[in-house]
């Protein structure tokens, strides 16, 4: 099942309307992007700031509706804002922000509840232990460090046991130890059979864990490259050639 296509994106585009006081401006955020993600892979999306990575991710998660194009998940086309499809995905935002007065446990209960899960203590402990913050279970989120917050965010994406994980810059703003922890966690999840799509600025991180990299430049698909191809070359040089 290794080459089974889990997600297929075909020619998706998105234009934002920016309303100023007297006129409207149109900003083409994503233009005609197509790619696929195989089951069990970790796929990275690389691009400069404002390239359109987050917009692509938002369209895949069903937060934003694409203006054109098609998104297929497990062979079925997803209609905009399809609810059932979202049970199979776990999304981590660029800056995860939780209700500060909730504890880690309450946060997981909240997000698990949104996915229609009836969670027991065992489920919660298992997920917190996977991400390595079990001992902070009863701690309020407002007291968490950035690294712990990121781990909690990953825990919220795992609580409903989705097959497809979508992470928007999971290592952004973290110290080297925390980055290493996240990286190991992602590899662990891949071994557990999860499929991961992640976006990042950090070429070194993407190099270490991704099976495939998609480079986006100014909202357009610039290059799709498999891991075997960049092992011989420097991914950074490839990125500079295709993303800048």
């Amino acid at each position: 099942m290794k080459n089974e296509k889990l997600l297929v994106i075909t020619s998706i585009s998105k234009t934002y309307i920016i309303k100023d006081l007297f006129k409207k401006r149109y900003k083409r955020a994503v233009s005609d992007v197509s790619f696929s993600v195989n089951r069990g892979e970790i796929v990275g999306i690389l691009g400069l700031n404002g390239a359109g990575k987050t917009t692509i991710i938002k369209m895949i998660c069903g937060i934003t509706k694409p203006d054109s194009g098609k998104i297929e998940f497990e062979g079925k086309e997803i209609r905009p804002f399809d609810i059932d499809y979202k049970k199979n995905i776990g999304y981590l935002g660029e800056l995860p922000y939780f209700y500060p007065f909730f504890t880690a446990k309450q946060t997981l209960e909240f997000y698990g509840g949104l996915s229609d899960m009836d969670l027991d203590e065992e489920n919660i402990d298992s997920v917190l232990s996977t991400v390595g913050i079990l001992k902070y279970k009863g701690e309020k989120v407002k007291n968490f460090s950035k690294g712990m917050m990121q781990k909690l965010a990953i825990a919220t994406t795992l609580i409903h046991n989705p097959s497809f994980l979508i992470y928007d810059e999971p290592t952004s703003g973290l110290d080297p130890i925390a980055i290493r922890d996240i990286r190991n966690l992602l590899l662990f999840l891949k071994n557990e059979g999860k499929t991961i799509l992640l976006s990042s600025h950090s070429i070194s991180e993407v190099e270490k864990i991704c099976d495939k990299v998609i480079i986006i430049k100014e909202g357009k698909l610039s290059l799709i490259i498999e891991k075997e191809k960049w092992l011989d070359n420097n991914l950074e040089d490839i990125f500079v050639n295709y993303a800048v």
Binding site: F81, F101, F102, Q106, G113
Partner: protein
């Protein structure tokens, strides 16, 4: 419509609102004013019970009004600004379910605050050996339904503008005008012309009509319509 999801979001909304600093400020304000009411009651000699009753009704009304308008606007705006809403909408949650859950959470907590202040009042009455009048509960019903209507208007403007200040100011203006609509209708009925104003006044809620026979139904229809419009607009809104 998944009622379990709506209930879940409503409960989280209640927890979040309960823990916020603004809630503590309003709560302290209400407790201090409860003490002030005792002093005011003493000054009124034979009208102590009426003054206590009117005072508690007023502080309940004004306190819950400010609390609900600000909490509603800040909770939804902060979800959008911090992008927390993406984490919620990436789950199997429809936009209108999220909005309805947030809104109902604030309404339910408003109701609980009203109950809490009423309990303080009843305890005070019992200490002073006055009889509890159930007409007071009827007045509380009026207050609650007015708060629901004005909260639904605040919800609409929060959806349209996503600015806390704009939503709060417009809601307060509607609150003020709704208490004067009756007088304005009376004045305009004596003058020829001003047709547009007259028609506009027929659309603004008239709080003086609440004590008519089907006043509650009238207020509920307003509440329903404004909430429905808010949900429809939010469902179509692009969240960036």
């Amino acid at each position: 419509m998944n009622l379990k999801t709506i209930k879940h979001i409503a409960i989280s909304s209640i927890y979040e609102a309960k823990g916020s600093k603004f809630s503590y400020i309003i709560f302290s304000f209400l407790v201090i004013l409860s003490y002030v009411s005792i002093l005011l009651g003493i000054m009124a000699v034979w009208e102590e019970k009426k003054i206590l009753s009117d005072f508690f009704l007023s502080i309940t009304q004004v306190g819950v009004l400010f609390w609900s308008l600000i909490m509603l606007a800040t909770s939804i705006s902060s979800d959008i600004e911090t992008k927390r809403i993406y984490l919620i909408l990436s789950r199997p949650v429809r936009k209108y379910e999220y909005l309805l859950g947030r809104f109902l959470g604030i309404i339910i907590l408003s109701f609980l605050i009203i109950v809490f202040v009423t309990l303080i009042f009843f305890i005070l009455l019992l200490i002073k050996r006055y009889k509890i009048e159930w007409g007071y509960v009827n007045n509380l019903g009026f207050i609650f339904i007015k708060i629901c209507v004005i909260s639904s208007i605040s919800l609409l403007f929060t959806v349209i503008t996503t600015s806390v200040y704009t939503s709060f100011i417009i809601s307060m203006m509607v609150w003020f005008v709704a208490h004067f609509v009756n007088e304005l209708k009376f004045a305009l009925s004596k003058i020829n012309g001003f047709i547009f104003m007259k028609y506009l006044l027929y659309l603004i809620p008239d709080f003086s009509l609440i004590d008519k026979k089907i006043g509650y139904v009238y207020m509920f229809v307003y509440f329903f319509i404004f909430t429905l419009i808010s949900l429809i607009l939010f469902e179509r809104k692009e969240i960036t």
